[in-house]
Subunit: 158 residues, 2 copies
Amino acid sequence: MTKAHPTDTSHDHNLCIKEALENAQKVCTARGSRLTALRERVLELVWQSHRPIGAYEVMANLKQGNSKPAQPPTVYRALSFLVEQGLVHKLSSSNAYIGCHIPDKAHDSCFLVCSNCQTTIELDIPDIKQSLAAHAEQCHFSINYSNIELSGLCAECR
Amino acid sequence: MTKAHPTDTSHDHNLCIKEALENAQKVCTARGSRLTALRERVLELVWQSHRPIGAYEVMANLKQGNSKPAQPPTVYRALSFLVEQGLVHKLSSSNAYIGCHIPDKAHDSCFLVCSNCQTTIELDIPDIKQSLAAHAEQCHFSINYSNIELSGLCAECR
DNA sequence: ATATGAAGTGTTACACAATAACATTGATTA
DNA sequence: TAATCAATGTTATTGTGTAACACTTCATAT
Ligand SMILES: [Zn+2]
Ligand SMILES: [Zn+2]
Ligand SMILES: [Zn+2]
Ligand SMILES: [Zn+2]
């Protein structure tokens, strides 16, 4: 059973959100970390769409919604927690956050960001990591973290 | 003749700077773009070391040196020009800039950033790009720009 | 040479992104 | 229950980047 791509506009996104929240609960329970109401709410907001969302946008949504309004430190702390737990990734080229769909699996992320609609797909590509490590080794360089962000056009937009 | 790696602390860095400035002149002349005194000075400051430098650090150095002090927009404009011309790359994960050593050659960059000393090596890895493009194509995604930043330990630091 | 327009730089003010420091609240445990 | 630590609230500040407009410099055409 293959999963629908986020670029498939007809997919049931409520299911994406539901799964993400369930996965988060599982992951946090397993690790003994606390997914508080605030953190869960922020995670839900990050999962609003398959486009990266900025910290201040999250904050604005908190204010609008039924949640209590929050200041920047509150939002950044929640986001930091989610990133630490691997539930959310940060895209440094746009200072924005996106939910991870495989938070229970250790992986090196590779993001495809559509330059037209911002829809973002996360790929887990072990072979690329191997290849990069080999190249790096030739410079006597050992990799321990990779940040790969590719921009282009998604299926819908091209 | 192989070139010394930036991580080789005994290399003649004045030569790096000299070559970078010469290359810049060539590239700009060939393209009919203007490498003004300010832009050249900023490029020289970026090439101060093989570590990425922030815009505000460049600005501070301009103030200290014999150059005229400059405001943020001035510095950012110069940096933007240099990035457009491919003379400098921006590392988004650290909001910092580093000189390109192959500005005359179209390439997709891959950066190895030492997490201990920040020394950064730029690799041109066409095969990785091919591989990434192939993976992306499976999601019906076409890549037109890649940002790859790897952190780890360089030869000196590990 | 002089006018004209475009490109580059100066200047001020502001917007957006992130964190420091400290107070308060809530959960856990002795 | 008291003590303790984790989480959140609050205020202020730092860091990063840009908008808008004035002024200067350079290239080109008359
Ligand atoms: Zn979805
Ligand atoms: Zn992920
Ligand atoms: Zn050097
Ligand atoms: Zn380069």
